[in-house]
Symmetry: C2
Subunit: 188 residues, 2 copies
């Protein structure tokens, strides 16, 4: 055995949750492709910003040979639906009882506030306890402004978020956005 | 001399126009930062998508050691202004008499069409003859659909586009967007 038992365990746990993050992105991208193909919405995952340190030119074109990832200050997905500006992020927690606010960077929190104030549709898609919830940006900001807790209880997410069940189309979140547009950010 | 005269000339010309493209981007980003600082609009340049071939982990974190740039299928800038979805691209031409349509990739043309059809505010910012014009997406699509020409004459851009003069704030294009919102894409 290469690793002591506890290290191996932590390692495989991390990999497993990283994969769940990728699974969630996959389900969202699947829906985004479906929306584009059906001319419903134009929502894309933004490329992760990178800082190029070194690039080389060859017959195959420009090739990056040294670069690192930068921290994005906005949310990962944005686009257009029925004339509305849409922006959101996908978040996964392995916690079973609450969603730790440390999952959302302070500049992202500020950004959610700005987008909401300028009449954009902004939200998080949270994966918790193997379930997916669309959690409106306004509800998120209200929680931060009124609670001192460092995590959102699971019951709160269940009560104020909207569950989305994955289907063959992926994670069909635009159905919920329709509710948000009609319901002016209040839960129906 | 390392290069024959004509090659050297072409090379320095390319560098020069590449720099102008960067100057235009700089002026736009300067305006974007101004808009964010003043809480006017939230418009960002999308990172160029890259395909990572190889990455390594070190004590400094994940480092990309081989990657190449991919062709974006959307436009370079997007964001939110007064509840409107905004998307545009910056284009530079060294031509003095017209803007060659080859500057806009076919998938970008399709994307401009889609964004317009879904009530987004979409346009090009064209630099031609040392001047900057906001050229509305609808005008651009109408030109492509009604003309057989492979380039937009400069006079056409002057007549149907909106000139933007650079100021200390950069290229203050949001003033023109205000006209587009009020004037429903028609020239005032």
């Amino acid at each position: 055995m290469l690793y002591p038992n506890n290290i191996k365990k932590t390692f495989s746990k991390e990999i497993s949750y990283k994969n769940r993050g990728m699974d969630l992105e996959y389900l969202i991208e699947k829906a985004n492709i479906y929306y584009r193909d059906e001319d419903i919405a134009y929502i894309y995952k933004k490329p992760t910003p990178i800082k190029v340190v070194k690039a080389e030119y060859s017959h195959k074109g420009k090739r990056i040979t040294d670069a690192f990832y930068e921290m994005p200050s906005t949310l990962d997905f944005n686009g257009l639906y029925k004339g509305y500006y849409i922006e959101f992020d996908a978040k996964v927690t392995k916690n079973k009882t609450s969603f730790p606010l440390s999952n959302v960077h302070p500049h992202q929190i500020k950004h959610i506030r700005n987008i909401y104030n300028h009449q954009g549709i902004v939200f998080l898609i949270i994966m918790i306890n193997e379930c997916y919830y669309l959690f409106p940006g306004k509800t998120f900001i209200d929680f931060i402004d009124s609670e001192k807790r460092q995590s959102i209880p699971y019951d709160y997410i269940k009560n104020f978020g909207y569950e989305i069940k994955p289907t063959l189309k992926g994670l069909d979140y635009i159905k919920i956005v329709d509710k948000l547009i009609g319901g002016n950010y209040e839960k129906n």
